[in-house]
């Protein structure tokens, strides 16, 4: 079955920058689909092309089998919820919601009925005659959603709809958005840079970087089985290991020789052959620190290394540790470990600075990446910056570049 919404080789350039580079994917009918990526990754440009505000330089966009690439925004059955709400300040809430219906010259009674229905859906019945300036952020956001939904679009686009709200309201609106999606059953395309929102709301997530889609999967797969180092590092935190497969164990596992660390047992779901260079990603919360060397109850599937704690940050629900393997502080492995507090931990001696402890993880918790880029290591959570002289300069250049790209990406805001 063909997808309800399809991007086929869509490319958009702004001068020398390619904001979206040959993107091809599909979205199913009724799906809550999220485009996730850092600012300047091209997600907003993609959304704007879908809405009709920008036109792709190459490629096609199909909606319900029809090519909508060249249609102006007012001729598409696609409606947008804008990041800054974009409510018409001179119109009341009712008139804002009725705006699209009036343009379609629907009978008065029908307009009133549909607007009332929407006001009920977003729980703003009592506010119909107010002006947008009289509403709070969350209420404005709900009006923006109602205004777009009242036209019964084939696809509802949401451009960072929660970015302008404070944390509590954001969490609440997430639940509300989810419920609205369940009730109306319209396809949602949701752009965000907040991995938490995407993970919590979306049926599937497309992770984008530099105008390219890196991975499209349901949230759990994105988190547990990242295909690239970028996906692994952008969504949550992780540890990367570089090594060479030395032998295959039990068909589904392999040993990876990691320089200066030793042999790491890893699940080999991609059936990579011995001798190949591989990169592993292991999430901090899958690593364990213990005072005693853990007993291997899993036929050699647990990796155990001695490490030294050199930084510890208590964060309430958990404690984050940074540990070192190796004697020389300038040339050693530094790993990030997340230890969730549970009652039994309180019974043991707390792990503290400079403690020599054991680090362990199960082979199934290491994941082999298909693609690795050294630069993604800068996305990781790390207490000390490496003492490379030109590191700050590079960061500045990166900021400038991403700022420039952001300007191009979100042109108009």
């Amino acid at each position: 079955m063909a997808d309800f919404l399809q991007f086929q080789g869509v490319t958009k350039r702004f001068g020398p920058l390619t904001a979206v580079n040959h993107v091809t994917f599909g979205v199913q009918k009724g799906e809550f689909f999220s485009l996730l990526g850092p600012s300047g990754c091209g997600k907003t440009t993609l959304l704007r092309m879908l809405a009709g505000f920008d036109r792709p330089d190459e490629g096609k966009i199909l909606l319900d089998g029809k090519d909508i690439t060249g249609l102006p925004p007012d001729k598409r059955q696609v409606n947008t919820v804008f990041q800054n709400y974009a409510l018409f300040p001179h119109l009341s809430i009712r008139d804002n919601i009725a705006f699209g219906l009036r343009l379609r010259r629907l009978p008065r009674a029908e307009i009133d009925e549909r607007v009332d229905e929407m006001l009920g859906l977003v729980q703003l019945r009592g506010h119909a005659s107010k002006k947008p300036t009289q509403l709070s952020g969350g209420q404005k956001q709900r009006v923006a959603i109602a205004r777009a939904l009242v036209l019964k679009p084939q696809v509802l686009l949401l451009d960072e709809p929660l970015a302008a709200l404070d944390l509590k309201l954001r969490q609440h609106m997430q639940i509300e958005l989810d419920e609205i999606h369940d009730r109306v059953g319209i396809t949602f395309v949701y752009v965000t840079h907040d991995q938490g929102e995407a993970m919590g709301l979306a049926d599937r997530i497309a992770v984008m970087r530099n105008g390219v889609v890196e991975q499209i999967d349901p949230p759990a797969r994105i988190y547990e089985s990242p295909r690239t180092s970028f996906v692994a590092a952008f969504i949550g935190d992780t540890n990367f290991f570089e090594g060479t497969v030395s032998r295959i164990v039990d068909h589904d596992y392999c040993d990876v020789d990691v320089e200066d660390l030793g042999t790491v047992r890893c699940w080999n779901d991609k059936h990579i052959r011995a001798g190949a260079k591989v990169y592993l990603s292991v999430r901090p919360e899958k690593l364990h620190l213990t005072h005693e060397r853990p007993v291997d109850l899993h036929d050699g599937k647990v990796n155990v290394f001695p490490v030294t704690v050199y930084q510890k940050v208590y964060q309430g629900a958990w404690t984050r540790f940074w540990v070192r393997h190796g004697e020389n502080a300038d040339d050693c492995w530094e790993l990030s470990v997340l230890q969730v507090h549970s009652r039994y931990l309180l019974d043991t001696t707390p792990i503290s600075w400079d403690d020599k402890v054991w680090l362990s993880w199960h082979a199934d918790d290491g994941y082999m990446l298909e693609n690795y880029d050294e630069r993604d290591e800068t996305l990781l959570n790390h207490p000390t910056e490496p003492a490379v002289p030109d590191a700050p300069a590079a960061t500045v250049a990166e900021n400038a570049a991403s700022a420039a790209q952001e300007v191009l990406d979100g042109s108009g805001r």
């Binding site: 040339d331 630069r375 290591e377 590191a391 420039a404």
Partner: protein, 350 residues
């Protein structure tokens, strides 16, 4: 100038209507005509109006300056430099010189007085500021002519100030008066300067205040904390901080001052004429249009010089900034970040 900068800064605002622009290339001939048609429709009326009633008359002024004068008061045929030769006679340079020094003096005084005013206005409580701005603007909602006329009344030999200054005062048994009864306050360059400052001061105060309002006054506290004296703090910290306001205040005062006509005409005498007065005399009573044109051309040059310089300066800086942006955007992280990824290796092995 300020307005230019503002405009450049707001370049990205109207987004939708800009959006089709890159697509024009693929729209075909008809589409192209239609696309530009909208622009033409919106642009043509005011563009044409400004061309007919601004560009053409300006060019006309420049051309007429090179035409001979006909005896009957019209414009003769052919081209000549005669007018320019007459202008360099000893009479005119002194008028040009007076125009320049009066304008610069008025500008300097306006800014010198305007700076402390702007400082005071920016330091009062925010809720009172609109009222104070209103107080500055309000007298200037009355007709310009009437304000000049009011000064004429005040400075008039039988007016309030003269009466006050000419009368004899006995203070502690000492007889004394401020001015001899014969001195006139009116019809001299001092009166012209005074009324110019009176008229143009708000134009200096407002941009200075706009800049001062954005000024971070904790800088002054920091300077005092470091032991600077008030005078020094004012000139070395505050004034450079409102530099942009000073530049636009100079423009706002200097340009109209150079073109003054009414003020020297009403409160100045024969010895305080400015270029504006001569332009009027040559154009209307004398009907010597080439002469008036040459003087106007001269004034135009003088008036367009300062903003031209300012514009070139800001434009240069702007281009520079754009270049930097593009350069940094093109040299994306790839080249620079290569050796900073040292998570695995804490530093380079060496």
């Amino acid at each position: 100038m300020a307005a230019d900068v503002d405009r450049a800064g707001a370049g990205a605002t109207p987004a939708v209507l800009e959006a089709p622009a890159p697509a024009v290339r693929r729209m075909g001939l008809l589409g192209r005509v239609r696309h530009h048609g909208a622009e033409l429709l919106l642009t043509a009326p005011s563009f044409a109006w400004m061309t007919v009633f601004f560009v053409v008359p300006t060019v006309l002024v420049l051309l007429l300056a090179f035409r001979p004068t006909a005896l009957d008061g019209g414009v003769g045929h052919g081209w000549t430099l005669q007018t320019w030769r007459t202008i360099s006679n000893p009479n005119y340079p002194s008028i040009v010189w007076r125009t320049i020094w009066l304008s610069f003096a008025a500008t300097a005084l306006s800014i010198g007085i305007g700076l402390p005013c702007a400082f005071a206005m920016a330091r009062i409580k925010a809720q009172w500021r609109p009222t104070f701005v209103g107080l500055v603007i309000l007298p200037f909602w009355t007709s310009f002519l009437i304000r000049v006329f009011a000064w004429r009344l005040l400075l008039h030999p039988e007016g309030a100030i003269s009466t006050f200054l000419h009368s004899t005062w006995t203070i502690f048994g000492w007889q004394f008066r401020f001015l001899e009864p014969q001195t006139t306050l009116l019809y001299n360059s001092f009166a012209v300067l005074l009324v110019m400052v009176y008229t143009y001061l708000p134009f200096a105060i407002l941009p200075l205040y706009a800049a001062a309002e954005k000024f971070d006054f904790s800088l002054l506290e920091a300077a005092f904390d470091l032991g600077a004296r008030p005078w020094r703090v004012f000139w070395r910290i505050f004034v450079p901080g409102v530099r942009a306001g000073v530049v636009s205040a100079v423009m706002m005062v200097l340009i109209p001052a150079l073109g003054s006509y009414v003020i020297p005409d009403l409160v100045g005498g024969p010895n305080s004429e400015m270029v504006g007065n001569k332009i009027y005399q040559r154009a209307l009573p004398d009907r010597n249009l080439p002469h008036a044109s040459a003087l106007s051309a001269l004034l135009m040059l003088g008036v367009l010089l300062p903003p031209g310089v300012a514009w070139l300066a800001t434009r240069k800086r702007h281009i520079g900034a754009t270049d930097t942006d593009v350069v940094s955007a093109m040299s994306s992280p790839a080249s620079n970040l290569g050796n900073s990824g040292g998570r695995r290796r804490n530093g380079v092995r060496s």
